[in-house]
Amino acid sequence: MAVAATMVQMKIAILRHSIRGPRGSMMASAGSLGVLLAAGTIYLAFLEGDWLAVALAAWMLGWIVGPIFSGGDETLRPEYFSLLGLGPGRLATGLLAAAFAGLAPVISLLALAALVVAGARDGVVAALVAVPAMVLQVAVFVLLSKVTVAALGIALGSRLGAIGTGVLNGFILALLGQSWVIAVAFGQGGQIPEFVRYLPSGWGLLAVQGDYLALAAMAVLIVLLLAAWAALLTRRAGANRRSARGRRPMRAGTARQAVMAKELRTWTRDLVRNHQITFALAYGVFFAATPLLLGIPAMLPLAGPIFIAMSAAMTANSYGVDGTAHWLTLMTPGASDVRGRQLAWLVAVGPLAVLVTVAFTLAAGGPWPLVLAAMCALLGGGAGMVPLVSVYGLIPGIDPRNRGGNPLRTTEDEGSITGMAYLMLLLVALTAAPAVVAAVLFGWWGVPIGIVTGVLWYWGLGLLAERRLAAQGPELLQLMRTGRPPEGGTSAWKMPKMSKTHEVIVMLCWSFGAIPLIPQGILAAVFVSNGQLRHSWFLATYMPPGLRWPTAILMMLIGLAAMGTGAWLYMRAKQREKEPELPPVYD
């Protein structure tokens, strides 16, 4: 137990430091979102039916899938303890105990308080049973997550494994994205399929409902998972691989070709990139193909465009992933690093994108102008946005040789990398907007517009990235070396200095101000004016006639006020930061 207690103390110490650091605000907003979700789960416990079982299944899926994007929580790595001579069982138990000390397990435990609520509806005994059930259920969640990460880490040790994992992950996430299809296919609307109750996520609920065997089953599952994890951990600590295959000679003749050759070799040799591209491909294909289950082929043409956007999202931190190798770019000013990377990105993504787009659109029988316009614009947009976002929003990566047992984990800052992926999806989608609008309005005219905008994105965004790289190169290198932006340097994501409370308020205002403003305000007003009443969750549409417009307007005002407050606090802090005039930086 002493080992476990020490590891918990270490974890708490590290968490304490990171709360004070720049990640504090990120954790605060993630935490508030988590608490909201937990509250929602508890609310479901008051309802009849199996909704709680569905929500718990979603929590379990979150625990399993989350680490695929983030690389998992590796605050304490097994390698740290390899010289202590701990047996695998003790190591795994200790790391498990430490894994419970964190934001996510606490929030999951909070969500599982829903079991107590569900139990209380049946009586005192059920409510009491809910307490051990809660704890066991969290342990199941955490262990499932740990075993997934460990198994992934080992699978990713080989190219085949990396590709296989990419396909599997893409498949799971695409199904999640299309869960309505699954729901309709299984239940034909409204019905929750029976099996959801019997997933491991539902065992706690089964126990509370009187099936005490489920408690024992959870205990057995925990022991099995712990054993599996311990076994996987020993494999990981000993992982060491070497390649000795023949290498194709480099035929590049110019600086730009050299960058391209370097990048393309990294694309084929780095398992992380193998995984990224197969993931994006699998996601696009499965996302577009899932509606076939319902006999809907209309989404098939989306496969190519989704693949392109997802590739951009996965590779958004391309400079960060390379780590401090950036020093070589600094030492060779004038060599066109950005352009070479853009070309390599196009070579890696382009042919596959064209192939998938054409094949899937053929299968669906069109609409050709729309799909081709989007594809051209997205390819240019992706090739432009990747270097731009990567240099403006650089997230310090772990140098490739220090990546450790989990090759998927390319940075310590998993929250930011996930945020960056979402932002990238949005930005790349926007680059296709002009071409898509043109194709919708004018048909085939959309394609030349897609080509022209694609070339413009490629050229213009690449130019911006190149300028930023030239102007801020040393600052980027320092950020990669230290993990902290240099003082006085300008980081695109940097919040001005303000108190923690203000920071949280700003984040909350910005993230939640949009809800009253857009759906509950603007959209609701549209529905009211169209006479679409009792529309899903738009509050104004449920109001008595005299209150509909006032409700929508009030919602808009609340949203504007929240976002305005956030903006005002932000601007004020920015202003204050400028006041003490800094001595001019030598340039």
């Binding site: 070709q257 390379d322 030492m331 003082e487 930086v585 030598y586 340039d587």
Partner: protein
Amino acid sequence: MTAALEIRGLAKTFGDNIAVDRVDLTIPQGSFYGLVGQNGAGKTTTLSMAVGLLRPDAGTAQIFGADVWADPAKAKQLVGVLPDGMAMPERLTGREVLTYLGLLRGMSKQVVAERAEELLSVLELDDAEKTLVIEYSTGMRKKIGLATALLHAPRLLVLDEPFEAVDPVSAATIKMILRGFVAGGGSIVLSSHVMALVEQLCDHVGVIDKGRVAAAGPLAEVRGAATLEDRFVELVGAESTTARGLSWL
């Protein structure tokens, strides 16, 4: 004669920590200059600023008269750098790294191929033809780093801890190459905290302590009658001179 490297008033502060406090150093042409100091004294920070890898808060650095920050293209053409602990393009083989960098430097394909061949063979990296840099040992990494620094025939080499974690055989190879470089008219600055090594190789030495230059000049002048190690301990005033045992051993 223009100095190979002229550092004037370089300063850098990280938060509350003054890492480098107005350092002046002159590295004459043709000299083999050793920069010594304790861990954290500011050697790496100074050298990073001198070659353009870290923006200084104040001060200038000139390589053969070319300002590193005002005229980076010219200055960086004249210098070869081996930083400590930085990544390389990890998924390339040694030969591919050299080809890539030579082309980035604007060298012709032919010249790059010839020099890469020679460097790999002299540094004994040619039997690792199929090995990616990520799989290299620490000593091999230092050697390929040195090869990248030498590839474009610079006139000044700036090497941060080139002998750290290098085995004696590889170290002997590196020493031989460096001595040859100086004999051919090149200039070298290297940082180290191994006094014996600096005494053995260098003709000039600079002592950095707490971000300042404690002493600098020709080796004989700086160390006087004592050994460099004694002189160094005297200069930085380390408490470690009074050896204290560990209570439990």
